[in-house]
């Protein structure tokens, strides 16, 4: 008995050590989101191993079939296995979304810190720059730049990263501005700390939590954005199976088979739903002040 109790105790202690996750899992939506996010990451890691076929293997005798024993989700217009393509697509979604969000976070933090902390002319210049990026609807900006640079995965990541900079710059700027006037920063400065030290060791740590939550909430938005650009033929090139590419192929044959659109659409819908509810639960636990909804 004592053993069991001690065992339970230890389990409890482990949970206490990662209290955030525990609290997220207590909420039904948080738990749902966690399961979906976990499944997504498992697919990213092991998808190519689990996939029944090579995503590019064509079988021209079995085009646009519905679900069957051989092809659980059916086949596309080149007889490629849809299940394998969808599974591999998770990897493409993450490979674009994570670097893109990282570019936005890093770029946004640098611009935000500079403009919020230095103020004056620098601040005005940065704000006008951010306003100009946001003067375009994201899709239109990305379309215009990708059309000129030519479609490729790297260009797509760059463009998405730049388009998302303003959101992070603004939140960082606001925090830097309020930190600037705090007593402890003044004290630090009177002790002779440089601007660089104040920014990196005092201002930055304070804004990490909201930034990470924002990044987690942006991940699904960026995934759908990437798929949208690929749908328009401006992102990942076929035959690489981005969910957007599968949708685009399916759209061409919409009158022949509903399956490619159905599965790729569902994959996108479930993934974004999972990430969103997980990130929202995370936000409610980490930073209740931030609750209230937003849309990119």
């Amino acid at each position: 008995m004592e053993f069991v109790a001690r065992r339970a105790n230890r389990w409890q202690r482990t949970l206490d050590r990662i209290p955030v996750l525990g609290q997220v899992l207590e909420q039904p939506l948080g738990a749902l989101g966690f399961v979906i996010v976990l499944a997504f990451f498992l697919l990213v890691l092991f998808g190519p191993l689990l996939a029944p076929y090579d995503y590019a293997k064509q079988d021209l005798s079995r085009l646009l079939e519905g679900p069957s024993k051989d092809h659980l989700l059916g086949t596309d217009h080149l007889g490629r296995d849809l299940l394998s393509r969808i599974m591999y697509g998770a990897r493409i979604a993450l490979i674009t979304a994570v670097p893109a969000v990282m570019i936005s976070v890093i770029g946004g933090v640098i611009l935000g810190l500079l403009s919020g902390y230095l103020g004056g002319r620098v601040d005005d210049a940065v704000v006008v720059f951010l306003d100009s990026i946001q003067a375009f609807p994201g899709v239109i900006l990305a379309l215009a730049i990708l059309a000129l640079l030519g479609p490729s995965l790297v260009n797509e990541i760059l463009v998405i990263g730049i388009a998302w900079i303003p959101a992070y710059a603004r939140i960082t700027r606001a925090q830097a501005m309020s930190a600037k006037n705090q007593m402890y920063v003044e004290a630090e400065r009177s002790l002779g700390a440089t601007n660089g030290r104040i920014l990196t060791s005092h201002v930055l740590p304070n804004i990490l939590a909201p930034l990470l939550i924002l990044a987690a909430m942006d991940l699904p938005v960026v995934i759908t954005f990437e798929a949208g650009l690929s749908f328009l033929g401006l992102g990942v090139r076929p035959p690489t199976p981005s969910w957007g590419v599968i949708l685009s192929d399916g759209f061409k044959f919409v009158r022949n088979s509903p399956w490619p659109i159905l599965w790729a659409g569902l994959a996108l819908a479930i993934t974004t739903l999972g990430f969103t509810v997980f990130a929202e639960a995370l936000r409610d636990v980490l930073d209740p002040k931030l609750s209230g909804t937003r849309k990119a």
Binding site: F136, L143, L148, L149, G150, P220, L232, P258, A269, K295
Partner: protein, 317 residues
């Protein structure tokens, strides 16, 4: 107040100028010669020379950008090299359809989303409240192209009860509306969910404010307080969101116009991109950006007028 308006206007104009400079510079990032890329296999020395002079590619970059801004300010978008038609004619033909699409979608979102949100807030835990919560969370991140493709699949391809493409017969209003329905719903769905959620949270918050409780305590009818006083306070944040909304709807319109093969700014820009018709791309993107910036500006102004609590002098230097 006037000083703030003036500063805001000045910033807006500055942003528009930067946008034009950016678009003027953009052609220079094309790998290779834009004129040759544009013409493809139709390139002849005469045509290349014409495009180079039309787009001022033969001049230094700074002059190029200056001339581009100058021309755009005068509304002279030039002529299309392939058809010889003025580019403004293409824009004039496309713009109204996109505006109608975006406004109808916004209207749908407002007239469905806001009542849903208010009802959910005033009847917590009713079945409508629960339905709204589940509906909102599932559609908020759903991209308009997935909704559009699903609607196309179900109503136009499988059930065949709605038209799949185009604008309908010219002059037939009923047919136009029928062709507008699916694209507008595809654009609006995400916003219905988003607005319902936003308004619900905002009304709940307002109902806790002291002025509402004071009104309740003084015996004014509950319905009056809820639907008149609280709603008024709660809708102010929504106005700011709608300005942004119009812009993101115009972005979403690109997908919807392509999926439903509908003429408009989105499909104009997209088709121009596929044919590498840079002058049309630049003009189209500029028009969209101008409208987006204007919508944000107006929403911002409306916001400051609506909310007496915003005191500009204190919050903005």
């Amino acid at each position: 107040m006037l000083a703030y308006l003036f500063k805001r206007l000045l910033m807006t104009l500055l942003v528009l100028l930067l946008v034009m400079i950016f678009l003027g510079l953009l052609v220079n990032i094309v790998p290779g010669d834009p004129a040759k890329t544009l013409l493809g296999n139709r390139a002849t020395p005469a045509l290349i020379a014409k495009i180079r002079s039309d787009m001022d590619l033969d001049k230094p970059v700074l002059v190029q950008v200056g001339l581009f801004v100058w021309k755009m300010l005068h509304g002279s978008f030039g002529t299309d090299v392939f058809s010889g038609q003025p580019i403004s004619r293409y824009i004039g033909a496309a713009l109204p359809h996109t505006l109608i699409l975006a406004w109808v979608a916004l209207g749908l979102a407002v007239f469905v989303g806001i009542p849903l949100g208010v009802f959910s807030a005033t009847h917590p835990n009713s079945w409508i409240d629960r339905f709204t919560a589940i509906f909102s969370i599932s559609v908020i991140t759903l991209p308009s192209y997935v909704v559009g493709l699903f609607l196309l699949l179900v109503f136009a391809v499988q059930l065949r009860i709605m038209p799949a493409m185009g604008l309908g017969k010219t002059g037939d209003v009923g047919d136009y509306v029928r062709h507008l329905a699916l694209p507008a719903i595809a654009l609006a769905v995400g916003w219905v969910g988003y607005l319902a959620r936003l308004v619900r949270a905002s009304v709940l918050e307002t109902l806790n404010e002291t002025y509402i409780r004071a009104a309740m305590a003084s015996g004014i009818r509950k319905n009056l307080v809820q639907y008149k006083y609280a709603l008024k306070g709660a809708l102010i944040p929504t106005v700011a969101v709608l300005g942004v909304g119009l812009g993101s709807l115009m972005g979403g319109a690109v997908f919807v116009e392509i999926i439903f093969n509908r003429p408009g700014m989105g499909s104009l820009i997209y088709n121009a991109i596929s044919t590498r018709n840079y002058p049309i791309v630049r003009a189209g993107v500029l028009i969209v950006a101008v409208m987006f910036v204007a919508a944000n500006f107006l929403a911002d102004i409306a916001y400051t007028f609506l909310d007496p609590r915003i005191q500009l002098k204190k919050t903005r230097g």
